[in-house]
Symmetry: D3
Subunit: 159 residues, 6 copies
Amino acid sequence: MRTAVYPGSFDPITNGHVDILQRSLAIFDRVIVAIAENIRKQPLFTFEERKDHIRAAIGDDARVEYDAFGGLLVEYCKKKQATTIVRGLRAIADFEYEFQFAHMNRRLAPGIDTMFLMTAEENFYVSSSLVKEVASLGGDVSGLVPEGVRKALERKYRT
Amino acid sequence: MRTAVYPGSFDPITNGHVDILQRSLAIFDRVIVAIAENIRKQPLFTFEERKDHIRAAIGDDARVEYDAFGGLLVEYCKKKQATTIVRGLRAIADFEYEFQFAHMNRRLAPGIDTMFLMTAEENFYVSSSLVKEVASLGGDVSGLVPEGVRKALERKYRT
Amino acid sequence: MRTAVYPGSFDPITNGHVDILQRSLAIFDRVIVAIAENIRKQPLFTFEERKDHIRAAIGDDARVEYDAFGGLLVEYCKKKQATTIVRGLRAIADFEYEFQFAHMNRRLAPGIDTMFLMTAEENFYVSSSLVKEVASLGGDVSGLVPEGVRKALERKYRT
Amino acid sequence: MRTAVYPGSFDPITNGHVDILQRSLAIFDRVIVAIAENIRKQPLFTFEERKDHIRAAIGDDARVEYDAFGGLLVEYCKKKQATTIVRGLRAIADFEYEFQFAHMNRRLAPGIDTMFLMTAEENFYVSSSLVKEVASLGGDVSGLVPEGVRKALERKYRT
Amino acid sequence: MRTAVYPGSFDPITNGHVDILQRSLAIFDRVIVAIAENIRKQPLFTFEERKDHIRAAIGDDARVEYDAFGGLLVEYCKKKQATTIVRGLRAIADFEYEFQFAHMNRRLAPGIDTMFLMTAEENFYVSSSLVKEVASLGGDVSGLVPEGVRKALERKYRT
Amino acid sequence: MRTAVYPGSFDPITNGHVDILQRSLAIFDRVIVAIAENIRKQPLFTFEERKDHIRAAIGDDARVEYDAFGGLLVEYCKKKQATTIVRGLRAIADFEYEFQFAHMNRRLAPGIDTMFLMTAEENFYVSSSLVKEVASLGGDVSGLVPEGVRKALERKYRT
């Protein structure tokens, strides 16, 4: 059984994340969505909220597992017997950042590799932080995030 | 009448900003300099100071309007009946950032477009933050910012 | 009256070109589509064919003029009393190439400026050469080029 | 059974190609090395030579298949019942080129995806064309290409 | 006597820094390692610790001088009668940042130039901040930093 | 005595080349301008013309030597007892190309290093090929190339 880990903050999940996750399921038998717990700035949504958003967007799929993740990513992969890390690539800035991490991770654990998928063209300018900024200013983010996330953002920022 | 919005923090205005503003006046009948009010870190200059710096640099020109700006940029453009946002492009880093914003803004308001001008070669390494850093360390920023800004920076950092 | 020149080989026009042309009409009173005659490699379509493809895609619009173009672009602009060159930006590679030309043109003719629009997300991976390559291998390019161009490509490569 | 296609000219194969091929075997059950036949400029090595170089470098592995490839890549993938295209990413220039192709291929065949692996750090400046240039000038390319390729290059350029 | 300044935070020094420093000694008679004192966020190691780490990595070399550095870099160079600033280049992100600084410094002091060396391939994904992040999570950074730094990081993060 | 090699086609020399050459003389005791003989496409100017253009631009300087160069660059450097190759960096595209060559050269000859200087802002969009294109179309290239080159280009393209 081929297992991949798809790590991220997912604060919140965007349609770009959903697309990458679904496409990775065409390659792997099991994909673990590893939701980063200790992200630097305080997340907008709790771990439970972020997990619920992803699950609602993906629907019931026995091949997808949701987990909280902290510490060294390659150690987490070993523990989960995953040999591949999945990442989406949107732009040059992503490329350099991911390049650095992919090489560091290969050095730390030569048996674990990082695989990249190109973000679909309709999502390539969408990021969690830009979505939050637009939503916080009252902009309409439907079509950029799953419907449940759109509503959750509205509730957060209406208060 | 064709109206464009030129948004920015302008904290302070540089010769690069002045050049982009003047060149946009060759294309549009009216350009609104939209000075961002709620920028993340505390600005060095107040809104009034930033407005005065720009006005002093441009001189009296009935086609230029100065305004404070907050909230969603495309909503501001609609309110002002402007259909074009003007931005300067200096480098690759700018390009990707602007790319993301231009696409998001087109999605939020399909009738409003973003137009880019390339920063002139003598200004392409000049940014407000680098100018402030150099001035704060006692470096000479004449030729990079309008003379009034140079003096204002000197007063700020002499204290 | 504000006149812009939109130069290119347009061999053939793509939906990306059509989009940039239409958006430039929201800013200028007149846009001259300047079809490069002496492009380095032999064009697939003649000047007349390329002109017909663009006209068919845009429809009758008195504000659009079609012309053959050779020699120095800024001299052509002067002759046509156009003060702005319009270009689409798709990616970093475009950016650097366009950067170089925009600065050279400003040096050759300081009164003529280049204005950039970002290619829409659904077209940003589409280029005339990639479209020709795909069509020559029998791939379906509908949705990437106007319908007339799709048929013309089919006729060219069926032979 | 998960099948991937690894397409390229492989004229000749480099250690960078060998590394990407071996790492893709950790993800897929079968990898088809699709050697481009109709590359634009005359290849240095024949199809048979290129195939032999790869086979010698990889060794006997029932999971690897070698094939000549022409026409539309996604049609080739369909014929071979492969759902993933494997590509190595070395640098920004690669990134933009691959970006364009990956999106075009997804459009032509939504069920076929492109997966990227980052070239290992010791190979990221190695390309077939640079290797040929260095070898043609008498430079030592050992460590950059498999030993068999090094010898073949020496024979080619000694004559 | 040709003197260069190699400025940085060196918090801590990595094998990439050591390599650049040693290579710059092949060009200059004297290299001053200028350790930035007032870096924005609180450094992990004190100035004395950072100096000791570099000295231990380089060994006794009369051509290398260690100094604390604050204020405007070009003024520091003048004071030290150095006419060249040495910097390592790893990636595009570095390139643009360094580009901006090199041009600003040439403007502030036309007689002082910045010289760049490309980081060796085995170090190009290594940065002080990534090393600290990995070490703080218990990852093994041997081979990325000098042995003394590895031990110091271990002591810091074990507490 | 520290010797550097400044290699290039110099077909023709531009003000950007002149600037890099002069700045490299502030670091090295001797700089050998190595004019590539076997460049791929037929040069516009002969080796003798190119040499004369450079000499006329630099003036008599005992520290500058002019030479024709073919074959492997690092072998040429060894023969000339030069330990440094000097290159100008203008843009991202340059960066990646130079990156690849600098690493290859370090691998072929670990004792020979490549040093980069950033092209001055007024020259960063100037290349030999763009200068030739503009001149061939009758554009004015004064200020971009030395006066002797400007005249030579005029003579070439007038015929």
